[in-house]
Amino acid sequence: MRIRFDKLGVVIAAIAAYAAFLAPFATFRANRIVPGEARSILEALPATTGPLLLAIVVAGALIALLKTPLVLRLAASVVALAALATLIGVAGSFLTPAGNTFARISPASGFWLLIFAFTLLLADVLTRLNLSPWARVGVLVVAALAIGLLLISGQWNSLSILKEYANRADSFWAEGSKHVTLALGSLVAAVVVGLPLGILCHRVEKLRAGALNVLNIIQTIPSIALFGLLIAPLGWVAAHVPGAAALGIRGIGTAPAFVALFLYSLLPVVANTVVGLAGVPRAANDAARGMGMTDRQRLFGVEFPLAFPVILTGIRIVLVQNIGLATIAALIGGGGFGVFVFQGVGQTAMDLVLLGAVPTVALAFAAAIILDAVIEMTATKRRVETA
Amino acid sequence: MIEIEGITKRYDATTVVDDVSMVIEPRTIAVIVGTSGSGKTTLLRMINRLVEPTAGIIRLDGNDNRSQPDYELRRSIGYAIQGHGLFPHRTVAQNIATVPVLLGWDKARIKARVDELMTLYQLDPEAYGPRYPHELSGGQQQRVGVARALAAEPNVLLMDEPFGALDPIIRTKAQEDLLAIQKRFGTTIILVTHDMEEAVRMGDKIAVMDAGKLVQYAKPAEILAKPASDFVETLVGASEKPFRLLSLGRVSDAVEKGTAEGEAIPGDASQRDALAELLWSGRSALPVKGEDGKPLGRVTVDGLVKRAARPA
């Protein structure tokens, strides 16, 4: 049999080889802020586990490099990722001198590159498997459970990012819930306002260009400026409208962040509603009208169901965008995971930055996968119905 | 001359073209007819190697078409397709000049050739040359598409449903234009169509394809008179046969001695048109005039009906 190489596998194997043999696996620091010292895989792990991890990485890279069956590639990527995730925790305990509470161990570039390489392999396998929407959500749930288990088991507790977490466990969950409230709440508000506005824009041509232009211009205002600009009007409302302050409306804090996110969210919702409604086939509308449907019946019976996948796409854009933008709320005291990011930047404590950034990315990633699956389900259902 | 020898094309397990052999004489039009999926387009595309055959050989004037790089081969063969495929980002003149530019002709020669072709196709080079394809009508776009295919003076022109997107009136005109130009340049044309009417009108020879096989390859009259199989019979259309047969002949070939009343029909009109005119006007005979306008004689209903009968 002739040996055949997989093109992507060449890239993956090259990254893995560099990461495993030339890049540091973990960083050791005597305390939180001093510069770190690099540790290779063999230095960072106990005498038996180090070579084991190297063997797993080399085997995984070889499987990726050659043209191998998808199942094998899937197994290789999952095993490699699981080994990396477990063993970075082992490295943490191994490198921390006994009884030392100041020493910090964090994953270094080699670890991240190995994670990247095998995630690439996993992503390629999953893409080629062409999974159904439900299966994709299933994979996401399994991955989330696995990470949750590792967290609960304490396997990672010796890593620096979790030491940062341990110091801030309470505020972590408080900021997290604020982050989710901001992102989801502003999305709900945007849908409640944006859908009717979009329908109105679809029906009233004069309104369409004007409304979309205004929303477009709002999008061009940099987020930090918009957050800042809303401080004044909301402060005024809090001071002058009776009861507003009691509702939590204040010049700084969550309120301006919420309003800013709401304003940013309007454009994708309204624009996609308009595009979705405009994309309803003329024939379907004519037939509906010809059968004597009223405007309202036509809207809910024909136009809306047909435009639904496009509107959902708008909602996906908004949710992913909001989860990211909500980090900036921290700059005006609005809370959210951004608090850790900006604190971390301020103290040049990268593990603190990660404590804010990693959950944000994970949230956005999960939201994207779930909504993509929902969009695909509604879109394919419709296609089957019309076929 | 184009020699196709034992050409087969398989995609995995499906055989799209199955051991087809035929010879196309120089300076003639061969029409390949068939239903969709019969392999006619694949056969055409193997001539300029847009598709590589699984087996068999194609020779152009005695040379294997694989003896030069595929792109050089294609530059020497004209190619016109349904929906014209004009480059939307280039002007009409630039579109026509595509292959001459690829061949590195000098500017003056390119301009002269573009102007010649545009004039031939009744498009004023000054007015239409700088326009973009979307600014032309469907018929004009189609003419530019054929002009582009002919630009580098190819000996062979391949056409895949070139008139498919045109409405019936423009289509007839486009077919006549093509016949005139083929006579003028002496180009060998291979044309693919699913329309038997078009095949009978255009072809010196017709190749009928069914399920990848060449079922019959003969002159139009023979296809009509002696269909090789039930499939060809159906394709020809039993009820249409006599009229198609008549459309092959010229009025001048059916002239009888004598005179008749009314306006004269030109001798180069088709016998089918003459019969239609007779039936429609309720007369039994029409006068016939030559190219110079002089009377040649007359055609009669009886005479034409005899010609429409199955040849012995």
Partner: protein
Amino acid sequence: MKAWLPSLLRLLLVVLLVAFVTNPGWFQPLLKPLTENGAPAIYNQGSLLTLTFLHLRTVLIATVAATIVAVALAILVTRPAGAEFLPLSRSLVNIGQTFPPVAVLALAVPAVGFGEKPTLIALFLYGLLPIFENALTGLTTLPANVMEAARGAGMTGWQRLLKVELPLSAPIILGGIRLSVVISLATATIGSTVAAKTLGEVIIAGLLSNNLAFVLQGGLIVAALAVLIYDGLSAIERYTARRMGQETA
């Protein structure tokens, strides 16, 4: 609306923008009511003109780099040799978009330090996605019969790419660049949280000293730049698309 009105508004915006960044002092009376306790109304820790210039330079460098890389990648995965990478590259683009710019920015700092570099990296990575996505759309949705004609005319792979595929997808690629530039203009302001010299410096100074006039002027300059550049690029896009008889978005 009369046809000349948008052009007039645009011209007015350009004049206002230039006047503001070159002679901000003229506008002091307008911004004064937004300040408290006699704080300065006009940013006084650096020249607005210089910051505007640096802001634009950062965006320009990042966008040019992102365009070159994104278009090259899109070309690669749409060639037969790179076809294997196409589905994966689509997934990666999808995943990449879920990374918030702030996170990219903050995570780039340990690798390259504070200042302009992490901003450039964040803008580059974030700008890649819209351009790559649009270039991919453009290169994979070319009209089939035009591509067939190009092949039939005897163009080589390179000739098809340079003479047909890229010119035909130019409007869509330009659309991606436009999106990318607008996102980058806004994102560059966040760069000032890691000490990049951009207009974000003005906004953040305003936030820190509770000076709304700073926040407003920084925000408005960036917004005006974004609107004008967006408009300009849209016009080029419409011009190239209309020449080909395509519908404009």
